[in-house]
């Protein structure tokens, strides 16, 4: 009797774990699996019928922490009855790798995908995973000049595969309270690198226990290497990288003197730049404009302590001697239509809407920078509650020259890997700057000659 009871209980436990396993699997798979049953039927009807019931599957990341995805979906569905937008969150770490894997081969049912960076874009273009949009652009008369040349830098053999809907550029964030406490004047919108370095050193306090870091460089190579592309004469595709040297020297000297946190420390701890700046001990941080929306929303919600970082501002990126102020790095986030979609027209309509002026308005309303930057959009963002109120910050939104962090090239993904790897080796001190640059030159030359 006991044995029988035990075996029945064990069998029941096994069955229940089996079933919960199944249930968890599907819910972890995609964010919209609760209506999985209903969605299946609407997808098949969407494919067959004309414009009535269409579901567009859209690949995104960080759905919970970023507000504009939901805003865009709601606004589009409101203005286009009969279309349902189904968002699938692929996570922001390795987003492009996961997306490329998903779109490999056949059998994917994504219609619209967000393109996070250019190396991933290059990969998708080579894999024929996304459609060329030129026919649609010509048919609907989309004016590409409203993107201020950004689309030219991602054209492949004369064809355009994505439309940008978000355009971020790099600025300097600074902590006004720290500057006030030291009695030092705020950074200006027209600083040379020498002035920036001097200011960072002035603000530094190395007393143990109450350190103030004049600057903070995130572990991405773009935070250090790309100071060098601002004069417009070099890009990361050159194959010759001696133009990085002065900036590596500046940053490594700053780290050695305690002006900025050491790269090896940051890599070991995995400290995020947002945690560093919101901790209130970093005077200046060079980062992209996407951080503005994060600062605004997290200060509003109370996640960041406003006594530590509530009094913040932005100024334009520093520039080399003789380079126009307001020259800065940019990165575009775009939307593309997959080749595997069975509703390309509906997908294109969505892409066009989000990248156009209506989508721009939705993006600006939550403090994000749409690809179409007009004065109205700038006023809207500057007028948001939480955006720094001083005139300098508003002025910083005006960009004179925008250089893409990673311009398009067919083998840009491999070049990116090489530069990333040697950046890490130089910053940790494993190899000297000269050796690192030499290696970068030779390795990238090999890739360019392939």
């Amino acid at each position: 009797m006991k044995k029988k009871l035990l075996s029945v209980v064990l069998a029941a436990a096994m069955m229940s774990t089996l079933l919960t396993g199944c249930g968890n699997d599907t819910s972890n798979g995609s964010s919209a699996d609760a209506p999985a049953g209903g969605q299946q039927s609407s997808e098949t009807t969407g494919g067959q019928t004309s414009a009535e019931e269409v579901t567009l599957k859209w690949a995104i990341w960080d759905q919970e922490t970023t507000q504009y995805w939901g805003d865009i979906k709601n606004a589009y569905e409101a203005s286009h009855p009969g279309v349902t937008v189904e968002m699938v969150d692929l996570g922001s770490t390795d987003y492009m790798t996961v997306l490329a894997t998903e779109l490999s081969g056949s059998g994917t049912d994504f219609d619209v995908v967000t393109i996070k960076d250019v190396p991933g874009y290059a990969t998708l273009v080579q894999k024929n995973a996304i459609l060329a949009l030129d026919d649609y652009i010509a048919a609907d008369g989309v004016d590409l000049s409203q993107y201020a040349g950004a689309t030219d830098q991602v054209t492949v053999d004369g064809k355009l595969y994505e439309l940008p809907f978000r355009n971020d550029f790099w600025v300097i964030f600074y902590n006004k309270d720290l500057f006030d406490a030291k009695g030092v004047a705020y950074p200006t919108n027209d600083m040379t690198f020498a002035e920036y370095d001097a200011l960072a050193r002035q603000m530094t306090d190395t007393t143990f226990g109450s350190q103030v870091y004049g600057a903070h460089y995130h572990t991405w190579r773009s935070a250090v290497q790309l100071f060098g592309v601002l004069d417009g004469e070099h890009t990361i595709l050159d194959g010759e990288y001696s133009f990085f040297k002065p900036y590596y020297e500046m940053v490594l000297n700053q780290e050695a003197d305690g002006v900025a946190r050491k790269y090896s420390d940051l890599k070991t701890e995995g400290l995020h730049y947002s945690a560093a700046f919101s901790g209130g001990d970093v005077a200046m941080l060079n980062m992209g404009s996407w951080f503005i929306a994060t600062m605004i929303s997290n200060l509003n919600s109370g996640e960041y302590d406003s006594s530590l970082c509530g009094n913040w501002g932005i100024v334009k990126y520093p520039h080399a001697e003789g380079v126009e102020a307001g020259s800065t790095l940019g990165t575009i986030t775009g939307l593309a239509v997959t080749t595997a979609t069975d509703t390309p027209d509906a997908a294109w309509d969505f892409v066009k809407w989000v990248s156009g002026s209506e989508g721009a308005a939705v993006m600006a309303s939550s403090g994000n920078f749409p690809a179409i930057m007009t004065d109205e959009v700038k006023d809207m963002i500057a007028g948001l509650d939480g955006f720094p109120t001083d005139a300098e910050s508003k002025e910083a939104l005006t960009v004179s020259n925008l250089y893409l962090e990673v311009p398009y090239a067919p083998n840009v993904s491999e070049i990116n890997s090489v530069l990333d790897s040697y950046h890490g080796s130089i910053m940790t001190g494993e190899i000297s700057i000269d050796e690192g640059i030499e290696k970068m030159n030779s390795e990238v030359q090999k890739i360019l000659n392939q």
């Binding site: 770490t93 894997t101 080579q126 420390d265 890599k267 070991t268 080796s425 494993e430 290696k439």
Partner: protein, 354 residues
Amino acid sequence: MPKMDAAQKEARIDSLQGELTQLIEAVRTEADEKKKRRMITKIGSLHRQIDKIRANRILSRETKRDLVAYSFIAPNFIGFCVFTLIPIVFAFCLAFLQWDGSNPIEWVGIKNFTRLTDDIFFQAALKNTIIYCVGTVPLTMIASLALAIVLNQKVKGRGIFRTLAFFPYVASLVAITSVWKMLFHPSKGPINNVLYNVFGVAQENLPQWFTGGLVLLSMILFSVWKYMGYYMVIYLAGLQGISSELYEAASLDGAGTWAKFRYVTWPQLSSTTFFVVVMLTINCFKVYDIAVMLAGGGSGELTTSSTVLVYYIYQKAFIDWDLGYSSAVAMVLFLMVLVVTIIQFRGQAKKERA
């Protein structure tokens, strides 16, 4: 088998019987072992054929039994075939092809392998993996053997110590690498603080545990600490299989502790050691998670000082989408592990024969 009428059947059975009788005669006088075995097999099959015809069956009893057996294995074997065997074969073929996952496959012959000789990242990965292997295998083996010997004696609280030694193996890798990174943090970690304050090491000379030359040392130390518990358990089982009579005989002959270890324990453990070393070697060549967690920073990317073969295979396959080249690297890894394992098997076979 085509249907035969009674007369044909009788004729067939007669001819088979004739063959059978002849063979039985021949087997009795046959000297050569191999030929004899073959004739005996033939006799068996002749018997089966005669039975088949007599009993009017399409399949003989033996064949039916075999089919039933195969049908039991089939579910597992089909799964193995589809999900493991075929992909492995395809991976071997892929090393000679060029493919990026979406475009048509192209044949490139050995071009992938010639590319390997010129590739700095591959050489760095290979070097790091070999150094890691050479460092980890002996250290882990010695540590686990020492622990097993000590904890095999009647020490007080040896159950607790065995659990403590085994615990790192069970703990989650992500959790313990985080703690490890905190302990060995270059500027805030207690280890470097002790070095700075107690041993007076200058601040610039403090070891940077996760970068440069020391990162492999950190990986080796971490790996030894994590896995020695597991191999300790295996050694304990081996030790408990040594009969105490051997030790008694040794003491009677006047053997000290070291002599007992050298002449009784170590030879008796040879097959356990063989197993431990083979497992350790294979697992060391496969290292990936430890490297990425300890040295990968937040983004999980490895530089040339800490990159390992499996990471390079992943990087080439899913970041650069160069699947053929990645398979070539995987084949190199396979050959290395194969060679090492074959050497060890040969060595063990020789020992057992001796």
